[in-house]
Every structure is written in C-alpha cells, then in structure tokens.
C-alpha cells in the first residue's frame, strides 16, 4: 500500500478528489482527511504499477491544483 499525503496549503481537496476519480480504474483507493493533509491510500497487486500510479496521480493532483488557482483559492472561496 502507498500512502500519499497532500498538504492542504499546497493542494486543493477538489483536485485530489478529481485526480483519484480519474485514476480509479488503475488501483484501489481509500481517501481520508488529517488536520493538515488530504490522505490517499492506494493499493495494487503489482508493486511497480502501484508506484507508477501513485506518481502519476500526484502529478495530476498538482496540475489540477495549479489549474484551479492553487490551494489559496479554496480558502478564499470559503471566506
């Protein structure tokens, strides 16, 4: 199992959600929240594939966060 911790001040929660949905068919995912992080646990029987999916998912979540205006935009939207 690989655990990815996306810091809330760097990554948008919606971007992490969207990335996980995009990669849903490539591994098993479990999402949870910690006070400072969005946490994604992913599992695949093939370890190399699991590592590769984790890497690509991270890139995708980062790209989406940037595209959506960065993590600061979520805080501004809530305010």
């Amino acid at each position: 199992m690989t655990v990815l911790r996306f810091h809330r001040s760097l990554y948008l929660g919606t971007a992490v959600d969207e990335a996980v949905k995009g990669f849903a068919t490539f591994a098993e995912f479990e999402l949870s929240e910690e006070p400072e992080h969005w946490v994604v646990k992913l599992t695949h029987a093939d370890v190399d594939r699991e590592r590769r999916v984790a890497g690509e998912l991270g890139n995708w979540a980062l790209g989406l966060s940037v595209q959506k205006g960065g993590a600061g935009s979520e805080a501004k939207a809530r305010a």
Binding site: L4, R5, F6, H7, S9, L10, Y11, E36, A54, G55, G58, N59, A61, L62, S65, V66, G70, A71, G72
Partner: protein
Amino acid sequence: MSQLVPLRGRDTRSQAFFRFRHVGEKVVITNMEGQFLLLSRPEFDLYATGKVEAGSALHGLLSERNFLRSDGQGAGDAARTADTVSRLQSRKRFLHQGPNLHIVVVTLRCNETCVYCHASRANMDATHTDLTPALAEQTVDKILQSTSPDVTIEFQGGEPLVNFPVVKHIIEYALEKNRTVGKKLEFTMVSNLSLMDEEKLAYLLQHKVQICTSIDGPEHIHDKQRRLPGLSAHRAATTWIKRINDAYREMGLDDTLYHVEALLTTTAETLPNWKAVVDTYVDLGCRALFLRPVDPFGFADKTGHRVEYPRMQYLEFYRQAVDYMLELNRQGIQILERFAAIFLTKILGGEDPNFLDIRNPCGAGIGQIAYNYDGKIFTCDEGRMLHEMGDSTFLIGEVGNTSYRDLMGHETVRALTIASNLDAQPDCVNCAYNPYCGVCPVHNHKTQGSIFGRMRESSLCAVHKGIQDYLFGKLGEGDPHVLETFRRWTTVRDRSHFVQACST
C-alpha cells in the same frame, strides 16, 4: 494548388527566442541558454523589428550569441545546435543528481540571542532540543542514501558547539559508513564561535570541518543584534576567526582559499553603515562578504518592525557597498560580494554554481534536505524554520520511518519543484534574468500565502532583479577594472582540503 503562396526561406535577420530588459541607457537581451548582449536603444530597435543588416557588425554579434534564426541550411548548424544543448546541460548539471546539502540541526539551544534569529533558538536549559546519538546515526544513514555523488553535512543550530559530542559522533559515524558508500563527503559547521576552545578547534581542523560564522558588521552593530550575556559576541567571533585563519596558514593551506567564511544579515541598522561593514570584513582578512537581506523567518517575523526595511533601501545599500568593494579591488584589496559572484558566474561564466536558493528549480528536497533535532525531515532549512514557527507545510518525513524514495517523490517536493520552475512561473517566464535567477517557494508561502507567489510584489524578486540590474549596468559601463574584477569573482576554486578521503 497554383494559388498557394510559395514558401520563403527563413529570414536570418529575424530574432530567435529572446527576452529583454531596459537597464539604464542600454537594453539587455538574453536567450534560453543564458547568453546575453547589451544593446544600445537604436540597436535594440533594429533587432526587435528584424532590420539588422546581414553582414553588419551587429548581425555578426547577434549571430555569434545565437540571437538570430538560422536558415537551417548552413554547414555549422548541427554543431551550433550541439553547442547550445551542451551549454544548457552545463547550466542544469545539478538536475538528476539528488540532494547534496544536508543540514543537520544538532540542537536548538544557543548561548546568543539574535534579534532576527531565523532558527527560533531555544534557551540553554532546553536540553530536550538536543539531537541524540542514536537519532544522529539514523540521520547519517539517511543522508548517505542520497543519489548525489557529493554530500555536504552542515551542522546548524541553535549553536552546534553546544552539542559538540553529537557533532563528533556524526563526523566519526559518517566517515566510517562512507568507507563503503564512497561519497565525496564534506563537513561544514555554522557557529557563532563563542563556545570554541583549543580542543574543539583541534578536532575540527583534524577532521577538515569547514567553519562558517556570522559577522553583522562593526562591533557596535554586531553586539546590538547578537547578544552574548556578559561578553562581546563580536570579539568572541573575531578572535576565533583570526585564530582559525592562522591555523590554516600554519597547516600550509593557501589563505586566499582557506579561511573562515563569515555571513552578514542586513538589518535596518546595517543600511547606513555599508562602508563600516565592508571595512570590518576586510580588516578581518575575509575575502568574501555576503550582503544577505534579513529573512521573514523565526524571530525576525516578530521583530520585523525593528529589523526590516523597504527593499529599495536595501538595494541602495547594496549598490553603495559593492561600489566601494570594487574601488577596494582597484586598489589591490581582494574582496568579493557573494550575491554578485553567484549571478556573475551564471552570466559571464555560463556555469551554475549550484547555490540552492538561486537556481531553477530551487533546491528544496531535490538539492538540499534539513534534518531537525527530533528526527523530522524538511524540504529545506527555510521549511524547517517555518516548522519552528508552527507551520509544518514543508515537513516531508522522519528519519526512522520515511524511505529515501518517498522523500524524493513526496507530494510537497513535487509541488515546490513545479513552483520554483521559472519557465512556468508568471513574470519569471518573460524576465530577461530567467537564465540566472531562482525563487524560493517557502519564502513565497510565508510572505504571500502561495508557494507560487506573485513576483511583482515579491521582496525576494525585487532583490534579485535589483542586483542583476546593478551588475548589468556595470557590465554596460565597460570599465576594464570592473570587468576584470567581475571575471575574477566568477572563478570557482575547489577547496579540496575539505573533501574527506573515503577509504583508509
């Protein structure tokens, strides 16, 4: 088909990719590979409008530096492309290596109280902030997993001499482990020197540990900013600087190369004292002075009203100080300014000196890692400083629990690498100084609430741009003495004495 316009050959008068910036009466143009030219305004107008006459001197200059499109048919085109690729590779040689700078905080305790302390020091009785020998070994194990062939372990604090037994333990354990790992290993210690004694110095000299300290200018400024109970912090530091430099000479080392490195932190109090600061460094026998502005980390966040200043004032201070240093060089006194040397090495030397705070992308995670006394690992020293202020955004693991692979691929490291990539950063992507510059996403995060930052409002960008404006202004003036001094400042000499032998 007959109505199609016939294809024209490529116009070799038209511009290849370039960026530009007005500097005084000149215009500096740069390209992707970091070549530059300083053009007069009429020359720039000709270039920008594609009207440079083939065969003219200007055409030759532009062509030589790769500022004109090639027709794609010349015999030398392939060689030129290979040269360009080679220059780009040379500038980015630090990529694919891995972190080479490993900062180890052996304690947060410090016997001095600095008004701007970036490290958020702890009192001398806070022994719980001491790194333990067991955790120190785990830290060294992690450091030696780096993929970089060059590894520097930098002891920081607090004051590292407060926890000297662990400093010694790390050195001996790392030397032992490195017998099989085979890194090009170096040790550096950043100390205020006030707890130095002959026994500690003998150990540090014997184990080839490079020593760095802080000198905030003349005694009255230094002692006001760096309080040492009952003593003068300035006298303590300068006494040992002289003693260590003498020891290097006694060991037969070249004193132009081997000497204590001292760093300045510029506060509001420093600004009018630029001449006294330079004179202090020259009197101490220092060959380099790093005119660093104060950072917004640690205690400086709270004492900002006393120590901070508008960056325009800093740049005036910088220009006055470096003008004076250039005058001293003209008189035969060799002293260089470190910011200028870093930028000039990139501008004139075509090399990147791998200064981690001014490179593209920055060194956070992929060039440096900071290890705290409690085993926590951060992307960089600045990230660790923010953690001590209550913001753990840049925490990426713990020495006992996080694998090297997980550190390098950490989501936060990825984000910082993207955020400090100047070729995808608004403003930076169009800036003439793009090939030579670097941003600090942690600074952006602290001052602007986003790792990407907004460069138009960034105090760091103002400093970097202002310094490069000054340097290109000087290059444009063409004073032979200044140009010769600048060339000398770009010369990087290896301090091979500090490299540890990896086998016995």
